[in-house]
């Protein structure tokens, strides 16, 4: 790899001899931790790196943007062009978007997770687009022999105001491509934005209303066969033997063999059925008889998992994630204390598009197409597992029919690659809904023990212990250190300002593979911490929102609290009317939600309305943010009131929507969403709307009924 010094010694001017039919600008990452450099194609060539062309303008003026992130509904396909169009001064509808291939060297971190698409790249994208604009203006000025300062760009043209001359970008790309990228371009002020911050329509919507958007499952390549795989139902483990005699009788079935794929540090085996249609492959899979070898895999039931968590919370102190003051001493001496336990379930991602992947293994390369959240991880992993050099593993992202974390994993592309290699041809591996629902990895279920003491209306001691699987353990994370996300979701000012506080993590393991699920630990922590705060507020005899306000002194948080108070009519509510509030933070965005519930005549409660206020700092498209919060609330409603992955004998029990029921249209309350305006750095948008819903809901139920819900999921009708 070329270091920065080498780069700076290079003579850029030499490259001007290169002619290029197009003008491309991209980034060059000099090394990890170093700032990205903006380079044009010629410079990239000079560095000996391949051009990553994030923005590409051809002679007709057509602008192509390479979206380095997956589009799984969260709006990267819209956000990235909206950012680029703003500083490049082109019309949004003149831009076409192409998904970039997985390549960390070219695109940096491409993992679409942690709500990071915009917040991780917008500064670079703004700068890159502004740089391209300035180079085009310079090219125009030079052509006309006028000072650059007299020229400006607008709607894909460079304009010289004094003479009224104008030129289309397409006419200037050749000249611009020979210029050196200027170092310090001036970015627009937020007040001058024409596109950013506006609720513009999404570019991908039309493709999603006429069936033309190509999802992973829709990918077809010539000669492609279809495969379905019967995998070990105990999530990992081996195939002892199998009988495929009935499978081979099914018309269309071509091949049956054993496959294995990586699941973190272990493998899962299965039997693949390759056929000429998805249906034949699925029929063939159903007709298999397989004997499994589960040696070393404990056959756990859900009850047992939670019994062990409860036991651990009673008997163990755990590892200190954060400890200050004397919480234990105060709790031990207190005459009155709160000591309660919150329980959260394992969750299934349940993206509408089940897992699938197309692979084509050839002599000299392996090409993958699929709904993939982490293309460069797939490239890396398959390259290692199958001993193919990295450049020869080409990973293409399609649209994703939902991801929620599950599609940032390598098992399904790896398995497809192995099957393609075996049959020496292209194949699409289709996971049935049953496969998708039962194979994990799942979000871990965590139990929390919360102890607290109130003195003079304030928190005197605050202690949370958690027992649940730590996702990082599957990735080789250290087991003698506490979970680094033990308080994810809980606002930092609390842990800073509560004098006597302990957050303890009790290491807990099961053989069930676990991984992130939309908003990760904040999705369970949020419920425990924010319910517990509500209990403390009631114990202190304070209004739950005022109680929080006293601890959250930062200006942004005060404004957020004022806003949720105002829009939800919090102050004019009557006590016991069924209002609850919760505020959580994750991925650098804070969301406050108020939920209003009422009693049903037939018993139970219903959700009347949700108010949400999001503070995500700088943002691109308010309508996308609203959509993400709407979706987060719906997903959280399912997680709070319906969903739990139940295990019996080491296997996930529910295998389809018939028993793992989804919220439906009639279940959704009105959701009133507001976004804070400020100049803070951009935060995440896709996940932070989820964690506050469950606690706001159960806090509202407490307000209405006096009953405290401490275990998820619970039935609204059973309250």
């Amino acid at each position: 790899m070329i270091d920065e010094q080498t780069v700076s010694r290079r003579n850029f001017l030499k490259t001007s001899a290169l002619t290029s039919a197009v003008f491309s600008l991209g980034f060059y990452w000099p090394g990890s931790g170093k700032a990205a450099k903006i380079v044009n194609a010629a410079e990239a060539n000079n560095f000996g790196v391949e051009m990553n062309s994030w923005v590409h303008i051809d002679k007709s003026g057509k602008v192509t943007i390479f979206d380095h992130r997956a589009e799984m509904g969260q709006g990267s396909y819209q956000a990235v062009p909206q950012i680029v169009a703003e500083e490049l001064e082109v019309n949004l509808n003149e831009i076409s978007v192409v998904f970039a291939q997985g390549d960390a060297k070219k695109y940096g971190n491409q993992v679409t997770g942690g709500s990071s698409t915009v917040r991780g790249s917008y500064k670079n994208l703004l700068k890159l687009s502004a740089t391209a604009r300035e180079m085009l203006i310079q090219a125009g000025a030079t052509k006309w022999g006028v000072p650059k300062i007299e020229c400006h760009a607008e709607a894909g043209h460079v304009i010289h105001k004094p003479s009224g001359k104008r030129m289309h970008y397409g006419e200037l790309v050749e000249a611009a491509s020979k210029l050196e990228a200027p170092k310090d371009v001036v970015l627009k002020k937020r007040a001058d934005y024409k596109l950013i911050g506006k609720p513009l329509r999404r570019l991908d919507t039309p493709m999603k209303t006429n069936g033309t958007a190509v999802f992973g499952l829709d990918k077809m390549i010539p000669g492609m066969l279809y495969a379905a795989v019967e995998r070990n139902p105990r999530l990992r483990g081996k195939v002892k033997s199998f009988d495929d005699s009935r499978t081979r009788l099914i018309p269309g079935v071509k091949n049956v063999f054993k496959v294995k794929m990586g699941v973190f540090n272990t493998y899962r085996e299965g039997v693949a059925v390759v056929a000429d249609s998805t249906w034949a492959a699925i029929q063939g899979k159903k007709a298999l008889k397989v004997e499994w070898d589960d040696t070393g895999f404990e056959h756990l039931d859900s009850e047992e998992i939670y019994k062990r968590q409860a036991e651990a919370l009673k008997t163990q102190e755990g590892l200190a994630f954060k400890k200050q003051g004397e919480p234990n001493e105060i709790i031990a001496k207190a005459t009155k204390k709160i000591d309660v336990t919150y329980e959260t379930p394992y969750q299934y991602h349940a993206a509408m598009e089940p897992l699938n992947c197309v692979a084509h293994y050839q002599e000299d390369k392996l090409e993958i197409w699929g709904p993939i959240q982490a293309p460069e991880w797939v490239q890396d992993y398959i390259s290692k597992e199958m001993s193919i050099s990295k450049e020869k593993v080409i990973v293409n992202m399609t649209f994703l029919g939902g991801g929620f974390g599950r599609k940032a994993f390598m098992d399904y592309p790896h398995e497809a690659a192995v099957i393609s290699k075996e049959i020496k041809g292209p194949v699409q591996v289709v996971w049935t809904r049953e496969d998708d629902a039962t194979q994990g990895p799942f979000r871990p279920g965590i139990t929390y023990r919360c102890e607290g003491v109130i003195k003079d209306g304030e928190i005197d001691a605050f202690k949370v212990k958690l027992a649940g699987q730590n996702n990082s353990h599957w990735r080789g994370g250290k087991k003698d250190v506490p979970n680094g996300s033990a308080s994810e979701g809980f606002l930092k000012p609390y842990t800073d300002s509560i004098k006597n506080l302990a957050i303890m993590d009790i290491p807990f393991e099961t053989p069930i593979p676990t991984m992130w699920w939309r908003s990760v630990y904040a999705s369970t922590n949020g419920f425990a911490y924010e319910s517990f705060l509500d209990e403390l507020a009631h114990e202190a005899g304070k209004d739950p929102l005022d109680f929080r306000r006293a601890y959250l002194k930062e200006d942004r948080l005060q404004k957020l609290i004022d806003k949720i108070e105002e829009v939800s009519g919090w102050k004019s509510r009557k006590k016991g009317e069924g209002f609850g509030v919760a505020i959580t933070e994750c991925f650098s965005s804070t969301v406050a939600q108020v939920v209003k519930v009422s009693k049903l005549e037939t018993g139970g409660v219903k959700v009347d309305k949700v108010w949400a206020v999001m503070d995500c700092g700088w943002y691109v498209n308010p309508d996308t943010i609203k959509a993400q919060i709407e979706g987060s609330v719906v997903m959280a409603l399912g997680a709070a009131t319906i969903h739990q992955v139940k295990f019996k004998d080491g296997m996930a029990v529910d295998n389809n929507f018939s028993t793992y029921q989804m919220p439906r249209i009639a279940d959704i309350p009105p959701i009133d969403i507001h976004i804070m305006d400020n100049d803070a750095d951009a935060g995440g948008v896709g996940e932070p709307g989820l964690p506050p819903f469950a606690p706001a809901l159960t806090n509202a139920i407490f307000d209405l009924t006096g009953k405290r819900v401490r275990k998820l999921p619970f039935s609204l009708l059973g309250v």
């Binding site: 589009e71 799984m72 509904g73 969260q74 709006g75 329509r201 999404r202 991908d204 919507t205 039309p206 493709m207 999603k208 209303t209 006429n210 069936g211 033309t212 958007a213 999802f215 499952l217 829709d218 077809m220 279809y226 018309p251 269309g252 249609s277 998805t278 249906w279 034949a280 699925i282 349940a350 993206a351 509408m352 598009e353 089940p354 649209f399 994703l400 029919g401 939902g402 289709v430 049935t432 809904r433 959509a627 993400q628 709407e630 979706g631 987060s632 609330v633 719906v634 997903m635 389809n656 929507f657 018939s658 989804m662 919220p663 439906r664 249209i665 009639a666 959704i668 009105p670 959701i671």
Partner: protein, 159 residues
């Protein structure tokens, strides 16, 4: 295996298929029309809804033999230019997130609006109950159906 001919979106597709094969897989894998989606395979999610002689059916549990001699319409055949009032309303309100469920959502909504040109919220809840959206676009689906109903009314001849 049997030789059958399907009429999909007014076009004839001569196919060779197991008559037991669900219409979904015949449309997707044999006719190569990938707009109709697989979500559950057991009539629970509505991702696979197509029109069979104008009726909304779940193609994942409809045998391909049942479609022979009938008119099948899929999302690709709903309009030539993505301009059916329901498609337009979906675009206007930016309903889709991931978009995977929306072929089925739109096909269900079209039948609802034909049968009930002025649907109430209750009508929408009833007609759309069979369509899951994991991304949670339900509120926008409701708004878009109302919008499409209004547009249909405006477009209808007066009198």
């Amino acid at each position: 295996m049997a030789k059958i001919t399907l009429n999909i979106n007014k076009k004839e597709y001569p196919l060779e298929a197991d008559p037991q094969m669900p219409l979904l897989w015949a449309i997707r894998d044999l006719a190569g029309l990938k707009g109709t989606k697989y979500g559950c395979g057991v009539a629970q999610c509505g991702a696979c809804v197509v029109h069979l002689d104008g009726e909304a059916v779940r193609s994942c549990v409809t045998k391909v033999s049942r479609a022979v001699g009938k008119q099948v319409v899929t999302i690709e055949g709903l309009s030539e230019t993505n301009s059916h009032p329901v498609q337009k309303a979906w675009q206007e309100i930016d309903v889709p997130q991931c978009g995977y469920c929306h072929s089925g959502q739109i096909m269900s909504a079209v039948v609802l609006l034909r049968e009930k040109p002025n649907p109430t919220d209750q009508d929408i809840d009833d007609a759309m109950a069979g369509n899951i959206c994991r991304c949670g676009t339900y509120l926008r689906i409701r708004a878009a159906i109302h919008l499409a109903a209004d547009e249909q009314k405006k477009a209808a001849p007066q009198g």
